[in-house]
Amino acid sequence: MRLRPLGRTGLSVSELSLHVSAGEDPHETAATIALALERGMNAVTIAGDAAAADQLASALAQGSRHRDLLVIARASSLVPFDLPSPHVPAGRAYPGRHLRAEVESLLSRLGVERLALLQLHAWCSEWLGEGDWLETLGELRDEGKIAGFGVSLFDHDVDAALELVAGGAIDAVQLMYNVFDQGAAASLLPLCGAHRVGVVVRSPLYYGALTPAFDHAAFADDDWRHSYFFDEHRRETMARVGRLTPLVAPHERSVTDMALRFSLSHPAVSTVAVGTHRRVHLEANLRALEMGPLETGRRAALEQHKWLC
C-alpha cells in the first residue's frame, strides 16, 4: 500500500482509508479493519458523533494492531444544516468549547492519544473570520491532541475553501471528488498541492452509484439515500453510469475500479475514503488501487462525464 503525505501534519497516510459509520455489524467492521491493517492501510475516517466513535471503538477493542491507526474525524456541528440555510455564525455551529469537548470525548472513547485530523463537518467561507474554532483547533494541535485540522466541504461547494487554503490556516480539507464531480480539479486541488494542504476525498463512488449493485439497490426508508436518489436523479445517474462502461479497461472489475483509480489520480489527493463494510469489497478495492492512478488518456476521456460541478 502506497503512502502519501497528509498535508502539513507530518503524517503519511495510506492511499485508501476506511470510512466507518454507525449501525454496521461491529464484528464485520472489526474484521474489515483488521484486514485493512493487514494490507497496509493505516487510516479510518469517522463522523465525530458518539455513535460513530462507539462503532469504531467497539471494532478496535476486538483487534490488537491499531496502535498506529490514523483516525480522521469530522467534528459535528451544534446546528443542523438544511440547505438552503440562513447564515449560522461559526460561534453557534462550532464553539471552541464544543470542539474541545468532542476531541477529548473521541480520544477517551477510542483509547488513542491523538487524532490524525479533526475537520469541521461543514464549511461556509464566512466562518473564516468568525468564532473561536480556529484558535481552539490550533491549541488542540499544540497540545498534541490532534496532529492537524481542517474542514469538510459541502458536496459540490469546493470554491468555499479557496481563501482558507490559500491563507494557510488549515492542514487538510475533505471533499467530494469523483468522476461525476470533478470540480475540485479546477482550482482547489492545485491550490492544496501548492500550499501542502492535505486532501481527504470522500464519495469516490458517488454514494454507491458507481458500483454494479446500484442498479438494483433498494435503500431502506431510514437511509438518507432513499430520498437523495429519488426516481429522477436515480434514473439519470444510472444512465450516466451506463455511459461510462465503454471506458472500463478489460483488467478492471467494473466502473468501480475505474472510479476509484480516477479519484486517486490527482497528485494533490492524500487519501480516498470508502465506506466499505464487507471484506470482499475491501479486497476488490485494494486490487483496483494496486493498478495505480488512471492513465492520462482515460482521465481526459472522463472529463466529458462530469455533471455534478
Binding site: 438544511d82 440547505l83 438552503p84 458536496d155 459540490h156 430520498s227 437523495y228 429519488f230 436523479h233 455533471w307
Partner: protein, 264 residues
C-alpha cells in the same frame, strides 16, 4: 407613493392594497395557505422614473444591498456609478420615495426596520422552488419587480415532497449558488454554463421539478405587481416560490425588501 393598481387580474393570489396598511396585509399573510399576497403597482411605463429604470437596465447586471443607507443615498450611489454623477437626480428622488414607502410598509408587518436591496441580473437559482429562511421569529419579503415580463410563481407547502426536496437541495443548492455567481460575474449564458446538465436546465425552464407532487398546481403574481410572502422562521412556515424562466432575457430591476423581527 403611487397607489393606483392597473395591472389586471391577480391570477389567484389574494390582493392587498397599499392603503389598507401593513396590519391588513399581515392579517392576510398569517392566514394565507400559500403565504403570499399581491400588492398592485402601476405599470412601469406610467411611473415618473421609468426613464431612470430603463437606463439602469441598459447597464450590466448588478446587485446592491442598501445596508444602513437610506434609499436616496443608495440610489445615488448606484446611479452616479452606472449613469454618471447627478444623472436622473429628480427621478431618483421619486424612485427613492417609493422604495422608502414600501420599506416602511414591509417594516410595519413586523414592527422593525426593513432591509432593502436591488438587483438587475437574472439569477437562475431563483427559478427553483424554494422558501426563504431566516433565524428571527417573524419575517416577510416584499418583491417589487420593474420591467419583468412574468410574475413570481407560488405553490402550497403540501405540494412539495419534503424529503425529496431536502435531497435535491443537498445536491443542487451549492451548484445553483455557483451558477448564480458565475452569471453575475461574467454575464455568461445560463444555457452555456449548464450545457452538461440538460435535465436540470430543462427543469428550470419548465418549472417542473421532481419534488413537486402536482407540477401544474401553481399561482402567478401579476406581471409588474409587487408581492409579499412569508419567510420561513422557527415559528412560521414560508411561502414556496420561484421566478419564471420567461424573465431570462428581461430580468428587470428588482427591489427586494425583507423585514424580520423576534418581537412581532
Amino acid at each position: 407613493m403611487d397607489k393606483a393598481a392597473g395591472n389586471g387580474p391577480t391570477s389567484g393570489i389574494e390582493p392587498v392594497s397599499f392603503d389598507a396598511g401593513p396590519e391588513a396585509a399581515r392579517h392576510l399573510l398569517d392566514r394565507s395557505e400559500i403565504g403570499a399576497v399581491e400588492l398592485p403597482r402601476p405599470p412601469l411605463d406610467e411611473l415618473p422614473y421609468r426613464a431612470l429604470v430603463h437606463a439602469l437596465l441598459t447597464r450590466p447586471g448588478f446587485k446592491l444591498d442598501f445596508n444602513r443607507l437610506d434609499p436616496d443615498a443608495a440610489l445615488a450611489l448606484v446611479c452616479d456609478q452606472l449613469l454618471g454623477p447627478g444623472a436622473f437626480a429628480g427621478a431618483r428622488a421619486r424612485f427613492a420615495e417609493d422604495i422608502a414607502a414600501l420599506a416602511a410598509f414591509a417594516g410595519g408587518l413586523v414592527g422593525a426596520r426593513a432591509s432593502v436591496s436591488i438587483r438587475s441580473y437574472f439569477a437562475p437559482g431563483d427559478t427553483v422552488w424554494h422558501v426563504d429562511r431566516v433565524h428571527e421569529a417573524h419575517a416577510f419579503r416584499l418583491l417589487w419587480p420593474l420591467g419583468r415580463p412574468a410574475g413570481m410563481r407560488v405553490t402550497s407547502a403540501d405540494n412539495v415532497d419534503a424529503p425529496a426536496y431536502r435531497g435535491f437541495m443537498r445536491r443542487e443548492f451549492p451548484l445553483l449558488c455557483h451558477l448564480d455567481t458565475r452569471v453575475l460575474r461574467t454575464g455568461a449564458a445560463v444555457e452555456a454554463l449548464w450545457l452538461h446538465r440538460p435535465a436540470q436546465l430543462a427543469a428550470m425552464i419548465s418549472g417542473r421539478f421532481p419534488f413537486l407532487l402536482e407540477p401544474d398546481r401553481e399561482w402567478a403574481v401579476a406581471p409588474g405587481a409587487a408581492s409579499i410572502h412569508r419567510v420561513q422562521t422557527p415559528v412560521q412556515p414560508g411561502a414556496w416560490h420561484r421566478s419564471s424562466w420567461e424573465n431570462r432575457r428581461s430580468p428587470g430591476l428588482q427591489i427586494v425588501i425583507t423585514a424580520a423581527s423576534d418581537s412581532a
